[in-house]
Symmetry: C2
DNA sequence: CGACAGTCTTGACGACTGTCCAAATTCTTG
DNA sequence: CAAGAATTTGGACAGTCGTCAAGACTGTCG
């Protein structure tokens, strides 16, 4: 935002575009660094300085690329979820049978739960924050819709491979998949740059168990 | 906590008890005042000073009755939920038919959604916080279990009045009731001491819609 | 009445927050 | 290479935070 405010507005279009692309690429680089800390500490406990210190950037840079903290966090979760919603697409188009689709889908789902529990946790956190912080509401709602569409693509394909009509609605399909997922996510332990430790496969029921 | 640390430990038992009761009563008074602000702003945005300013107490009192902020918040949500879990008990014992139970239950549920949306919202918030703040986990899990039991009492009674066995498990019954409830809660607008304004009965789907 | 424990108020403390900005640095372009 | 724009840095700023403690107030009991 700061950069847009400065000069060079009337540059020729051929140079303008790659410059904006570079700017956006940097934003995403920063957002990914921020996600590291955000997923670990949650929204309430994460400060810009903490993000910076936990990355290779200084805290000033974040204010050069983002108008404020909420702008950064929105960008973070948007970027992450944009990757999420394409996760099953390849499985959907390549599966040739119902069983193949089921297996491929569950494999990807399991892998996600294993490796990206902190991100899921962060997403739950931000959905709650959106109830109090109006600035989040629009983004959260939009992402939720895209998740709904993602699951619906899987469900539709499943019905198609079965030679039937889908038996549910997009919203219900999302809800159905959410419960077992959130149960697993809530069990994932926090880890703070102490090397890779696999999330336990099964533990005792933990707090925040079942966030449905 | 502070008081317990000071003297008067060897007071006679007859005087000890009412004094502790008075102390606890005061704690609950403070907790209820804190819930006002907490339900309005959520965990992340609520400070002790904000709580105090939004009540008839000074911020120092809270430190006299609670060891720290987390202690206060845990007490708040414990106290509120303790009231919650008895909400339907009267309906359960007094209902003489399946229809009577259904009607009584839904009436109470609707009334709660109308008047206590901020509290529900706060509860969702704290469940998310528990994923990051270990100090919350124990309380959250415990409360969740009591909610499960609460719904199960209704479901069991319903089955009994129908002359059948319950068709679900306690956990599933809780999940089933949660989804429509959280949808409604997420729609409730924030209100900050600007007089009573009824929550809208139905609106467009809002963010944080469906927290399942 | 005086002593005293319990209760409450008030102001202060250091740590931390988001934001801003001037200077330093790097990169691009003429 | 020189000039100017873009980027990056790190410190300063005004607030706010949780916590603490010294003193004031209250009621009770000897």
């Amino acid at each position: 935002m700061a950069r847009r405010a400065t000069g060079a507005a009337q540059r020729v279009a051929v140079a303008e575009v790659p410059r904006d692309e570079k700017f956006n690429a940097r934003r995403i680089e920063l957002a990914e660094a921020a996600l590291e800390t955000l997923g670990e500490l949650g929204f309430a406990r994460t400060s810009l300085r903490e993000i910076a210190q936990n990355s290779s950037f200084t805290h000033g840079v974040f204010h050069y690329y983002f108008s404020d903290k909420l702008d950064l966090i929105c960008c973070c979760v948007r970027h992450y979820k944009a990757k999420c919603v394409t996760r099953y697409d390849e499985v959907v188009v390549s599966a040739r049978s119902r069983e193949e689709l089921t297996e491929g889908f569950l494999a990807k789902l399991a892998a996600t739960l294993e490796t990206e529990a902190p991100m899921h946790r962060l997403w739950y956190d931000l959905r709650s924050q959106a109830m109090f912080e109006p600035a989040f509401r629009k983004d959260v709602l939009e992402i939720d819709k895209s998740l709904e569409a993602m699951i619906w693509r899987v469900a539709s394909r499943y019905a198609e491979l079965s030679g039937r009509q889908p038996v549910s609605s997009p919203r219900c399909a999302l809800c159905a998949i959410r419960r077992p997922v959130s149960e697993r996510v809530a069990q994932a332990p926090r880890q703070r740059h102490e090397g890779r430790s696999r999330t336990p496969c099964r533990g005792t029921t933990s707090a925040a168990d079942d966030l449905s």
